[in-house]
């Protein structure tokens, strides 16, 4: 079922970008953009202000921890899903404090991504209703 939402996938792994793009298409996302590092991802997020960003934690140029505050500063209503292999509690909490809404551990499974994306859509709708 098609939805009106847009998503931006920021991950330095081409394989992950392809898998996530396919999963989000299956969930009906209308607009899906990708970036292969944090810096270009932030630039894309600034210009397109996507409803949902899926953000890798460890990347060259600019990692997820540095990209996240930039994205939230420019687009505070964007729902951010961190997708990372980092398991350290202190670092995960830092992502949460910086505004991440969800955190998915890699390697992830399809059900987990779909479940989180459905929750993310609910949050986007909730925030849009709150604004209007």
């Amino acid at each position: 079922m098609a939805n009106k939402f847009s998503a931006l996938i920021i991950d330095d792994s081409g394989e992950v970008r392809i898998i996530l793009t396919r999963l989000l298409k299956n969930l009906g996302f209308e607009t899906i953009d990708t970036a292969d590092d944090g810096r270009s991802g932030v630039e894309k997020a600034k210009s397109s202000k996507p409803d949902i960003v899926v953000l890798d934690g460890v990347m060259p140029e600019m990692d997820g921890m540095r990209a996240l505050p930039e994205i939230k500063k420019e687009s505070p209503n964007t729902v951010v899903v961190i997708c990372s292999s980092l398991t350290d509690k202190a670092r995960i909490l830092k992502f949460k404090e910086a505004g991440a809404d969800f955190y998915i551990l890699k390697p992830f499974d399809r059900e987990k991504i779909e479940d989180v994306m459905r929750q993310a859509i609910e949050i986007v709708e909730h925030r849009q209703r709150s604004v209007s």
Binding site: S84, S85, L86, I92, A100, F102, K106, K112, E122, I123
Partner: protein, 113 residues
């Protein structure tokens, strides 16, 4: 981890084989776990690995050793500093709390509308 040269079993943290001295993997700069050659990211913490040449020589190769060891001139002070550093790193490693997906979901559960 098995040595690719002599097949000897080595502890995971070892960078060089205890039997033949050949490099047996790529040590993660963050968590010090040795990963197999060819891996891009550390299997333990996800940190990007700096790939060492597969034929990296044993610790007896002078180019692999720090200057003090190259000349055989480790001082008591050097050793004390190294032991202090090792203790500090061990404490840091022990203080890292690793989470599973369920734990993380609990941490982030409150964001649901």
């Amino acid at each position: 981890m098995k040595c690719t040269h002599c097949d000897t079993d080595n502890e995971d943290a070892r960078k060089f084989c205890r039997a033949c001295g050949v490099a047996i993997g790529v040590m993660c700069d963050r968590c010090r776990i040795v990963n197999p050659f060819g891996d891009t990211y550390c299997g333990m913490c996800g940190f990007k690995l700096m790939e060492a040449p597969r034929d990296a020589s044993s610790p007896s190769d002078p180019s692999e050793l720090p200057p003090q060891e190259r000349s055989g001139q480790y001082t008591a002070r050097d050793i004390k500093e190294l032991l202090t550093l090792r203790t500090k790193l061990k404490k840091e490693e022990d203080s890292i709390e690793s989470l599973r997906q369920d734990d993380i979901d609990s941490l982030f559960g409150q964001v649901r509308p």
